[in-house]
Symmetry: C2
Subunit: 282 residues, 2 copies
């Protein structure tokens, strides 16, 4: 039986630190503010926004919700982003994506000021991870993996970590975060031959490929920590599943994050901690 690395205790511990920092900032007359910009009424966006709102309320971060119609014109959208970028009372901006077709996702991603980019989507934020400098912020999910490992006392320094997936949202930035923390990182992806041979050699496996239940018994061995970043609905099983075939892998390894209730439960806590860090940096 593996140790189950649940996300809630990680999130709670992060929230406590964040709330304490917010209290101190408020004593100095500063209230951290997160602007959430949503275009349209996509249910994923609405649900993520709801989670962020709840978390902000919990830790005392103020939210400015801005909702634009799904058919908003480009000019109006960028004008609003300009306003949020230039508004000194806004410390962090969360831009819910993907955006509707008439808006350029790539341009919008990079339009945010890096120092307000609490979701870690701009080139500036990614560069900060590359050069190990505080320019913006790490993507929340990648940072959530680091926070979870740290919370459970799993030191990555000198450890072999296999990351499955090389997306800009998780895999690549996570590989660099792990490298900056002195891990020895191997990044596997769709073109990697014999992924399972590589993962079996690792001390820690992080799967962020989005290939549901693709990490099976043959990928793992006793003593490993398995971090599952994937999440999706399995129609046959009629439930949410991760990248890891949980019932097969969990009995074999030393520690594993569940899905749901694992990394996904930590991301909004990371997001609000970034808002407060952005306020602190000022």
């Amino acid at each position: 039986m593996a140790e189950i690395l649940k996300g809630k205790p990680v999130a709670d511990a992060l929230d406590e630190v964040t709330a304490e920092t917010v209290r101190k900032l408020k004593e100095k007359g500063m209230v951290p503010v997160l602007a959430i910009l949503r275009v349209g009424e996509r249910s994923d966006d609405v649900s993520y926004e709801r989670g962020a709102l709840k978390k902000c309320k919990k830790v005392g971060v103020k939210v400015r919700s801005v909702v634009l119609p799904a058919d908003v014109e480009q000019d109006k959208f960028y004008q609003l982003l300009d306003e949020l970028n230039n508004d000194d009372s806004v410390h962090g901006i969360l831009l819910l994506r993907p955006l509707p077709w008439q808006l350029d996702n790539e341009k919008a991603r990079n339009y945010l000021r890096a120092d307000k980019d609490v979701d870690g989507c701009t080139d500036g934020s990614l560069t900060g991870i590359f050069v190990n400098k505080k320019i913006g912020f790490a993507p929340c999910t990648a940072q959530a993996v680091m926070e979870t490992l740290k919370h459970y006392g799993i030191d990555v320094a000198g450890k072999k970590v296999a990351v499955i997936g090389r997306s800009l949202v998780v895999g690549k930035p996570l590989a660099l975060l792990l490298m900056n923390a002195n891990a020895t990182v191997t990044v596997c992806h769709s073109k990697t031959e014999d992924v399972s041979a590589i993962t079996r050699e690792a001390d820690i496996i992080v799967s962020c490929s989005g290939q549901l239940e693709s990490v099976t018994a043959e990928y793992v061995r006793a003593g490993q920590t398995v971090i599952d970043v994937g999440i999706g609905y399995n129609d046959r099983k009629q439930k949410l599943c991760g990248d890891v075939l949980y019932e097969e892998v969990e009995p074999l390894v030393q520690a594993i994050t569940p899905v749901p209730g694992g990394i996904g439960s930590v991301t909004t806590s990371v997001l609000v901690s970034h808002v407060v860090q952005a306020a602190l940096r000022k």
Copy 2:
């Protein structure tokens, strides 16, 4: 006996393509220009500049050499960088570093316009590698490794590559370049436990740690390609050596770059090819 992957044929092939592109640009009335900015008379700088000048002459790239006194004032230095950044007739800027103490190396590195950063030292250039977009240019040495592998028909896609070293100049950007080319990359560094066990598993080893002659027989096995980025003077042997203990490793592996005459011979060819690409992008 290993195949010796010499740098000269790689450089010659690159130069031929560059010279041909320069000819075509000149037919359209455009002459690619590289500005070389040197502060003081450090012998390393003077010698690198000489190599770059020779290469530029060979392929038809015009050079604007700017030399400032070693005790130049900050304001004057940045004013000159501004001029070069804003001068439309200058396509690439090579800033010889390290700079004297009174100038801020970190600030200067990032002060160059990324689209003229033919030596790949700015955050913009590094970001381009991270997000796989043409923002600036890859650091010349990292790109020289890619060019050498390509020249000798060594496809990295799906291959296991062990990179030893995680500097911003070679290790990290090279890891991302290799990843973008579909290699499965492991980055080893000073905190990695049992580096030799990892390198023995790889198809290709790239050493860029700067630890002279540290890659010994136990790091390698038959069939591997070994790329040696290191270079330094071995006092005892009274000759230039690389990161690899050549006489021990060469008989064991399939292919290896020599030092000197390997990767180092390719870098200025990459530099001038970047100048021409910068001109082409306009």
